[in-house]
Amino acid sequence: MTSGVKLLAGALIVAVAIGYLAFLGAAGNWQYYLSVDEAVADEVELAGKRIRVSGNVVAGSLRVSDDRREAEFDLTGKLHSLHASCSCAIPDNLADDMDVVVEGELAADGMHGHKVVTRCASKYQPKVAIAERVESPGTSVTR
């Protein structure tokens, strides 16, 4: 066996071992990332599973506790809406009509969130957002 073949065999063994480790890591740590409509459509199947749901906070539905460790709001998609109650550090910029991602479990009374991620209104706005702003001046362009 030449040194090149030995080298290739060794690299292959290590790569397979890391691949297996990656498979184990992914198998124990993956989550579905769903829209509100997808989550509501498969509500029964997803019950009790840890998932992430993205949606828009319905205007007027947001309630945040004084110590900012709990929040309740309705998330809306294109067709359905979903109630979310979150017990975690609530982001500063969580507000009505904002796109958020809630991580937690789906139950009969809605999402029980352990983490809320808001999108930071920062960079690289596309032209479509600019057009929307012109149509309705004063509204947020955050998407």
Binding site: D66, N93, R119, P126, V141
Partner: protein, 665 residues
């Protein structure tokens, strides 16, 4: 002004395209004139881009809301420095800055002396083609000079999260690194295209690769520092797709630089070095695709845009062209080297490059699992930090072990007897440090391994220095050590980078494994004991500034009888955006940070606070700074080699190789 900027943008599109055409496309006649014409076209293109940038900067600082870009990112309340930083915050402005930097680097490459002018001039053309691509994206899809349809007397202003000193320098440095990586990639493609694949390519490409690698590393560090200081969650890296996007080219770039070294000293890993130069730029474009395509869900919230797909197209073209050229030039890239001796430098480099590529593959897989699962399984699946923490430590530890051991090895043969003895002493010291760490209470195997490797990495360069000084057949003195240090400046700078990386590893391990968090509600005068500190809440102070309302909790923190320090975690209400932000306060020491977050004021003087104990985190910033400083030392002599003039460079032979035991930078 806006029309002037628009005209200059169009002029730069034409002139950069013309410069690229003249440099790359073959054509009859004008042989002596073509390079000069290309150079002047590039100068005109860069001048036009500079004017466009100046016009936009003028508009931002002067708050000229006739520009759509200015009305999106500037405001009357925004300090001028953040108005200027808006230049690289938005889509169009960032592309403009990127194109300008790339154009400037292209001219520096073209005007620098080179052993192989043919490869350099072709590479110059390829870089100019990339500049032309960026300008085309601006002209057709993201115009920085676009007029505002509704001119008002106030803009939207910059997101409060981006109003941080790190944001003044982090994005330009990342874009500078992306622009700098264009040069080694272009040199690789030019060398493969022209069939002039020799040591002169390394001489041309290595300084650029080192500069680009350093800039990207500093950019990553500043980004992590911004996240730590500004996002208020106590961490610095979240394995977000955007963060991963910038990490990928850094990993392959590290592999590229080491493959160049092996090529230079042992005439091996040629295909790897050339391919990785191209792949690194391709991954820079991939990072741009991640941030601007909208296919990922990220805290960075980049929206759907056709621009990202243009960069994915460019990435595909780069990889495809490189693959075709490598196959076409396979005979030129053949190496006689064989993997005979395991404990030689080139063998360790070979293994390290393989491990770095494995790291790249794992990070890439974790990043792409979301869009791929959507396409193939119909549902989006994501993996979080737990996936990376599960898979990366074994590979990372192996890379760290190589990094720590390499100073005591030689090129091409096993270590000599003296080196083996030094190696045994260093290993013994590493074991002793591991035992001491265990006795001091460190129990996690990963932490013990990292501490031992860090000790090995710290003493190995010192042992190598002693060995180098010792070889001079005289009693070893400080002068001998200094002389060895001076003669092997780049080599010891490289070792110093390794030590810096081990410091970063210590910080990452300590802060990941030992992080503790506590939520408290305190009334005025309340004090608690936590993690060896006495933390007393004194009062809540409120004030009104021009652009924000500020609430600060004043804390007195005393530790182990030291003088108490005052921390002021705060919450700011930014009036223009009507948005709250958290401003953390940190007591930073070598043993760890106390990271305090003001969650809310609860009335009656009570406040809700989050306290985070982040061990060893200062090691990350200091280790990163050591890497950057050492890289500067490694690069500077390369830019102006001693005793090498323009004529002597031109006279060098195509197959020149460096001395076997020096110059590991």
């Amino acid at each position: 002004m806006r029309v002037l900027g628009e005209g200059c943008l169009l002029l730069s599109f034409i002139s950069t395209g013309y410069a690229a055409f003249l440099s790359v496309a073959p054509g009859p006649g004008l042989d002596r004139l073509r390079p000069r014409l290309a150079l002047w076209a590039a100068v005109v293109g860069l001048a036009a881009l500079s004017i466009t940038m100046a016009v936009l900067a003028w508009g931002l600082v002067g708050r000229d809301y006739g520009f759509e870009y200015v009305s999106q990112y500037a405001s009357q309340l925004l300090p001028w420095q953040y108005c200027l930083s808006a230049l690289w915050v938005g889509q169009a402005g960032s592309l403009l800055l990127w194109a300008w930097m790339m154009g400037a680097f292209a001219l520096i490459l073209r005007l620098s002396p080179a052993a192989d002018a043919t490869v350099r001039n072709t590479a110059f053309g390829i870089v100019m083609a990339n500049v032309c691509f960026l300008v085309a994206v601006m002209v057709f899809a993201a115009d920085p000079m676009a007029p505002s349809l509704t001119v008002g007397d106030q803009g939207r202003g910059l997101s409060p999260l981006l109003q941080h000193p790190s944001m003044l320098v982090h994005p330009p440095i990342v874009f500078a690194s992306y622009a700098a990586w264009t040069v080694p990639c272009a040199l690789a493609l030019a060398a493969l295209w022209s069939g002039r694949v020799g040591a002169s390519w390394i001489q041309l490409a290595r300084p650029w690769a080192l500069v680009a690698w350093t800039l990207l590393g500093v950019g990553l560090l500043l980004g992590a520092h911004w996240a730590y200081q500004e996002l208020g969650w106590g961490g610095y890296w979240g394995w977000d797709p955007v963060e991963n996007g910038s990490l990928l080219p850094w990993l392959t770039g590290t592999g590229c630089i080491h493959a160049m070294l092996a090529w230079r000293h042992r005439d091996c890993l040629k295909t790897t070095a050339l391919s990785l130069a191209v792949v690194t730029l391709a991954l820079c474009n991939f990072a741009t695709f991640l941030t601007r395509s909208g296919i990922f869900s990220s805290v960075h919230a980049f929206s759907e845009s056709p621009i990202g797909w243009m960069f994915l197209g460019l990435m595909t073209v780069l990889v495809a062209v490189c693959a075709v050229l490598v196959v076409r030039r396979r005979t030129l890239l053949h190496s006689e080297w064989s993997f005979d001796c395991l404990i030689a430098r080139e063998s360790l480099i070979c293994i390290s490059v393989f491990l770095l590529l494995l790291l790249t593959a794992v990070v890439m897989a974790g990043t792409l699992v979301a869009p791929l699962s959507k396409v193939f399984a119909g549902r989006t699946i994501q993996v979080g930090p737990a996936f990376y923490n599960h898979v990366l430590p074994p590979i990372g530890l192996a890379v760290l072990a190589m990094t720590a051991a390499v100073p005591l090895l030689r090129w091409g043969s096993p270590p000599r007897r003296a080196q083996r003895r030094l190696m045994a002493i260093c290993l013994a010291l590493g074991v002793v440090v591991a035992v001491v760490a265990f006795v001091c209470g460190v129990r996690h195997p990963l932490a013990i391994a990292v501490v031992a490797l860090a000790a090995l990495a710290a003493v190995a360069p010192a042992a190598a220095l002693l060995h180098d000084a010792w070889r001079r057949e005289a009693p070893t003195s400080w002068q001998d050590c200094l002389s060895a240090l001076r003669n092997g400046r780049r080599q010891y700078a490289a070792y110093s980078i390794h030590v810096g990386l081990l410091c970063v590893a210590v910080g990452v391990t300590g802060s990941s494994l030992g992080k503790k968090q506590r939520e408290v509600i305190l009334a005025e005068g309340d004090a608690i004991q936590w993690e060896g500190r006495q933390i007393q809440y004194l009062r809540l102070e409120q004030s009104q500034l021009a652009d924000k309302w500020v609430a600060e909790a004043v804390l007195k923190v005393a530790r182990n009888g030291d003088d108490p320090v005052t921390l002021r975690p705060a919450r700011h209400l930014h009036l223009l955006q009507d948005q709250w932000t958290t401003e953390v306060a940190i007591d930073s020491r070598w043993s760890g940070d106390l990271y305090t977050i003001l969650r809310a004021g609860l009335g009656d003087g009570r406040v809700s606070l989050t306290l985070v104990d982040n061990p060893m985190i200062r090691w990350i910033w200091v280790g990163g700074m050591l890497c950057a400083a050492s890289a500067v030392v490694a690069v500077l002599p390369l830019l102006r080699p001693r005793g090498v003039t323009r004529l002597s460079i031109a006279a060098r032979s195509e197959h020149e190789t460096g001395p076997p035991m020096s110059d590991a930078a």
